[in-house]
Amino acid sequence: MSTAVPVAQRAGDDEAIAARKRAMALLARALAPEMAEPIERFWPRHAARDLKPVETGLVMLRGRIGGDGAPFNVGEATVTRAIVELPSGERGYAHILGRDAARARLAAIVDALWQRPEARADIEEAILAPVAARIAAEKAKSRAETAATRVDFFTLVRGEDDA
């Protein structure tokens, strides 16, 4: 059994939960090279082992019309899950969209390393910040492309009803 208390399990530690949530959300969208290269550079001997074999499955996505209607099932998404453990006891979890097992495993390893306070700054600088910047740039690009084709509708002044 692991002796290290995972950061997110300390009672009342909302800030730590939010920080890990943010890291995991970014890792779920990180590309394999964005994680593999920093891992190789900073932690080449992390010795993480799989606690469960990396598995691909389906999760049901639920939605609400307008954000507050009755919940309904939108459809299923393919998700790959990895759970790893470091020799020092930290457990890393990752769920990513798609079937890329290697990418899920890398994300789980980074999540485990992130729980070591001394590794956090390096992860932020080498992985999370570049991923966040890439996602923001992609978003801005698609916004700009969409904006270029925007059509503004407006109503011309109508004639008088009794004319």
Binding site: M1, S2, L51, K52, P53, E55, E85, R91
Partner: protein, 195 residues
């Protein structure tokens, strides 16, 4: 370090499921399962295989305190099953016959509407094919079958008769020993002595 479970969860748990189903259908049959597992002590491979296969996030698990926290952490991590607060709230119960007494009536018996909501008890330490002989009869048994099991409580045959009287309510038992298991579904009639 957390111990590992099945290396190939889908196929290995299907194979174990098939064996448990066969052992349930033919009470008294001893089948081998879980040889590849190395669960944390004192949990034995067959009991571990049965629970890793059957338990999931919808089936509360009651683990006898004698197993300790490492076994509880192992099973809840790998199955996602929640821990039941008491035996009568459990879908699956795990006990060790040598360290914990077996009392069938302490576990969930199911209700008249849902007799399936009773506990399936996984009892390890039964040293199958040793110990006093029980004679089994009923559905799935051609004539009469013999099952040897050690460490069962002295009044096990009477307890089982009481379990039978509530049919279709009542518990089912999976007896495990090392990497072997045998099943006692609630429909089986047991006679003999466990003294």
């Amino acid at each position: 370090m957390t111990a590992l479970a099945f290396a190939d969860p889908v196929f290995e748990s299907q194979a174990v499921f098939r064996r448990i189903m066969r052992a349930m259908a033919a009470p008294g049959t001893i089948l081998v399962c879980g040889q590849t597992l190395a669960p944390p002590a004192p949990l034995e491979p067959a009991a571990a295989a049965a629970l890793l296969t059957l338990a999931d996030f919808e089936s509360p698990l009651w683990i006898a305190p004698s197993f300790g926290s490492a076994v509880a952490a192992y099973l809840t991590f790998h199955t996602g099953a929640p821990c039941a607060p008491s035996p009568d709230k459990a879908a699956f119960g795990l006990i060790d016959l040598a360290s914990d007494g077996l009392r069938l009536d302490r576990f969930a018996q199911g209700s008249a509407e849902y007799p399936d909501r009773s506990t399936t008890i996984v009892a390890q330490g039964a040293a199958l094919s040793e110990g006093p002989a029980l004679r089994l009869a009923g559905p799935g048994v051609h004539g009469e079958a013999e099952l040897r099991a050690a460490s069962l409580p002295h009044d096990f045959v009477e307890q089982w008769a009481a379990n039978r009287r509530g049919f279709p309510l009542g518990v089912d038992v999976i007896l495990a020993a090392g990497a072997k298991l045998a099943c006692l579904p609630r429909s089986v009639v047991i006679s003999g002595e466990t003294r």
